[in-house]
């Protein structure tokens, strides 16, 4: 069995006096998708930002494909694709310019066809050369998912990818997650939308107050019973 692509051990993140993440541990195997669930302020986005190399951990060990985030953050960034929870787009650049920048920095060649295909799949083909400042929230979210996924990273980090996205966009995002899993990528989806999370992931970690309160198969969180389980974990 292949070793986990993402390993998090006793992760702590502190902002001044506030403990945003308090000792979270989990791992994600190749081809697996794990949902990070929890209320606002539970520590989901902070954990995702740490994994994307945007925030350094205060304490604990985080490795991505064997690379220690503390010592080799650039290698981690090369291996991950990240859709941030807020915005994620440079206001005055076009989607194509975003893709060009990412392709250049990730040393991609012949990426254009896949980029066009993704833009069409997410219904952004007509807006490929339009400045993103005028995008709706949903368009911005969809574009952020494309930017995270188009270089087919071994680790896909999607933070609130369904937030304000229409059903077609949700479907396209689910396809992206399924494709990534099929190619052996480890996927982490952070969301507060339980129903969508359990549909796209096979494992779920529920966070509360910066700590993991449960780690369980996503199936246990489905339906009315799952809603009750989830609700009880949030209180």
């Amino acid at each position: 069995m292949s070793p986990p692509l993402v390993e998090v051990q006793a992760l702590h993140v502190r902002f001044g006096q506030v403990d945003a993440v308090r000792g979270i541990s989990f791992s994600v195997d190749p081809g697996a998708a794990t949902a990070l669930l929890g209320r606002n302020g539970a520590g989901k986005s902070t954990t995702m930002r740490v994994l994307a190399g945007v925030i350094p951990p205060t304490d604990g060990l985080v490795t991505v494909a064997g690379h220690d985030l503390r010592t080799d953050v650039l290698a981690v960034k090369r291996l991950t694709g990240y859709c941030p929870d807020v915005g994620g787009l440079v206001p005055r650049a076009t989607p194509w310019e975003h893709l060009q920048l990412a392709a250049r920095l990730r040393r991609l060649h012949g990426w254009e066809d896949r980029a066009r295909e993704l833009l069409e799949r997410f219904d952004l083909g007509a807006a490929a050369h339009r400045v993103t400042a005028g995008f709706s929230h949903g368009m911005g979210r969809r574009m952020s998912v494309i930017l995270a996924a188009f270089h087919q990273p071994p680790v896909l980090l999607l933070d609130e990818p369904f937030d304000g996205v229409d059903p077609l966009g949700v479907e396209a995002t689910m396809d992206v997650v399924a494709d990534a899993r099929a190619q052996g990528a480890a996927v982490l989806v952070s969301t507060h939308l339980r129903e969508l999370a359990v549909e796209v992931c096979q494992d779920a970690i529920v966070l509360r107050g910066g700590a993991a309160v449960a780690e369980l198969p996503a199936q246990e969180m489905t339906g009315e019973r799952g809603a009750g389980v989830y609700r009880s974990l949030l209180d």
């Binding site: 925030i55 350094p56 807020v86 915005g87 994620g88 787009l89 250049r104 990730r106």
Partner: protein
């Protein structure tokens, strides 16, 4: 900042105009308190110290020059310039209000959106913000100082200065009306071209006045001479002219405040067409960038050149100081002041909080696999090129009247431009990393940092760049090698500070704080 229909905007209620005006005035208080509540700890202390400092400097400017000796009849010279100085206050206030899309916001648009803030409250807020501008403050201090100097020590000095303060307030209120009016025109059909046409006509008229030698006589004959005379007459007590001028100014100010509110309301009902057009504009794909640095530079450049407020601000900076130099018949040895002025102004448009150009895209950009020092270098390059181009534009314009420079003068101006641009960029990048702010610079009315912080930044930049400008002005009178020789250590010091800031930026903890702040 007007965010919702209030009854003054013709909404639900049918309350009287007077009660709505009172409500608009009353709403300013809670907004001010809300802004003040965001200041905590050190920021609060800095704000209090800043306000006390501004107050103290104003009192000193209005009082201490009275003790200066006359010296070769200089009081007479200053007296002659007073009517022009009074007009200058109006000009600066008008340029500031027009360039900032009507005036600065008391509360940023994205924060104000949840509250029913009327256009009148918005206008009053912009009036309150107007003096928190280093150009306005310096003009005011110079004017108060000039009156004190010409008056000398007399019991009526306070009365004279009160009239000047009334003039400052009236001029600001009038300028605000013009600023809103320009913005209203700009937002109308073909508005951008109408405003550009008006500016071109003003430029031609100004050029004619300068060329024909009519500018100075016109300024000296302006009605502001009555304000100056009335203020000086106050040395011996209250005269009929003093009372008449005070009444006219007071009445004009009240009318301007009311009119400003009305025009501000009209502005809020018109969409900002040029901003909307640019935000939905399309741009054809260019060939792939040849290197990582080129890729980063491209992204950084679009953040500036596809922003209406930044383009407008840079255009004003590249043209206005040059026009003033032409009007003032500045010689090449004095042109060394201009690059510092332009570079400081450019940095105050966005440079002092330069990471906010990425907005909410900052998190994604920081997740890309690139050396943070390269991203830092790209931002520095873009700032340097923008400020150098704007500085070169204004010096070129000023040279129309200044004629051909000597070798020493040319080298002194060029070296000064490089030195002050590096100086301003190094300070801006340092502040950008040390004190980031979440700012949406889509609106021309937004500033990259809160108003009091901007006053602090602008005064520090103005002080240091003016000192360097004066230094190179002296060097322009001697051999050109001296300019190069002195420019090198200045440039190296700025480079050293940039490297130091780059090292701070490379620290993941420091960078994450900046990125999380500007993206929030």
């Amino acid at each position: 900042m007007s965010t919702a229909l209030s009854s003054t905007d013709g909404g639900w209620a049918t309350a009287s105009w007077w009660s709505e005006a009172r409500r608009a005035f009353a709403d300013v208080g809670p907004l001010l308190r809300f802004r003040a509540s965001a200041l905590r700890g050190r920021s609060r202390r800095f704000a209090i110290v800043g306000l006390v400092l501004i107050g103290a400097l104003t009192i000193m400017a209005a009082w201490l020059p009275a003790y200066l000796p006359d010296g070769d009849g200089r009081r007479g010279d200053v007296l002659t310039l007073l009517p022009s100085a009074l007009v200058g206050v109006v000009l600066i206030a008008v340029i500031s209000a027009a360039a900032s899309g009507g005036g600065r916001e008391l509360m940023p648009r994205d924060q104000a959106v949840a509250y029913p803030i009327s256009s009148m409250t918005d206008h009053l807020g912009a009036l309150l913000m107007a003096p928190l501008n280093i150009a306005w403050l310096i003009q005011s201090w110079v004017l108060l100082g000039a009156i004190a100097y010409v008056s000398g020590i007399s019991p009526g000095l306070v009365l004279g200065q009160l009239l000047i303060v009334l003039w400052l307030l009236t001029a600001t209120a009038l300028a605000q009306v013009v600023g809103w009016g320009m913005e209203w025109l700009r937002r109308g059909p073909g508005g951008v071209w109408v405003v550009r046409g008006m500016l071109a006509l003003t430029g031609v008229a100004g050029a004619y006045l300068v060329a024909s030698g009519d500018l100075l006589p016109l300024l000296e004959a302006s009605p502001t001479i009555n304000v100056a005379i009335a203020a000086l007459q106050a040395r011996t007590g209250i005269t009929f002219l003093y009372v008449a001028v005070a009444l006219v100014l007071g009445l004009t100010m009240l009318v301007a405040i009311v009119a400003g509110g009305a025009v501000s309301g009209a502005v809020s009902r018109r969409p900002a067409r040029d901003v909307l057009r640019l935000e939905t504009s399309t741009h054809h794909a260019r060939p792939g960038p040849a290197s990582d640095l080129v890729a980063l530079l491209r992204t950084d450049r679009v953040g500036i050149w596809r922003s209406v407020p930044l383009r407008r601000g840079l255009a004003v900076l590249a043209v206005m100081p040059g026009l003033v130099a032409i009007a003032g018949d500045l010689r090449w040895d004095m042109l060394t002041i201009l690059p510092g002025l332009v570079a400081s102004g450019g940095a105050l448009l966005f440079g002092v909080n330069s990471w906010c150009l990425d907005g909410r895209g900052a998190l994604w950009r920081d997740s890309l696999p690139v050396d943070p020092k390269l991203a830092f270098l790209s931002r520095v390059f873009v700032l340097v090129e923008v400020l150098l181009v704007a500085s070169a534009g204004t010096v070129l314009l000023a040279s129309v009247r200044a004629g051909l420079p000597s070798q020493a003068e040319f080298v002194a101006v060029a070296c000064c431009a490089v030195v002050v641009v590096l100086q301003v960029v190094s300070a801006s990048m340092r502040w950008s990393v040390r004190r980031p702010f979440a700012v949406d610079l889509r609106s021309a009315r937004a500033t990259p940092a809160p108003p009091l912080v901007m006053v602090g930044y602008s005064s520090r930049l103005a002080l240091s760049t003016t000192a360097v400008g004066i230094f190179f002005s002296v060097l322009s009178h001697i051999s050109w090698e001296w300019s190069v020789m002195f420019a090198l250590p200045f440039a190296m010091f700025s480079a050293f500070r940039l490297v130091r800031t780059s090292n701070v930026w490379a620290d993941p903890a420091a960078r994450s704080r900046v990125v999380a702040t500007v993206a929030s």
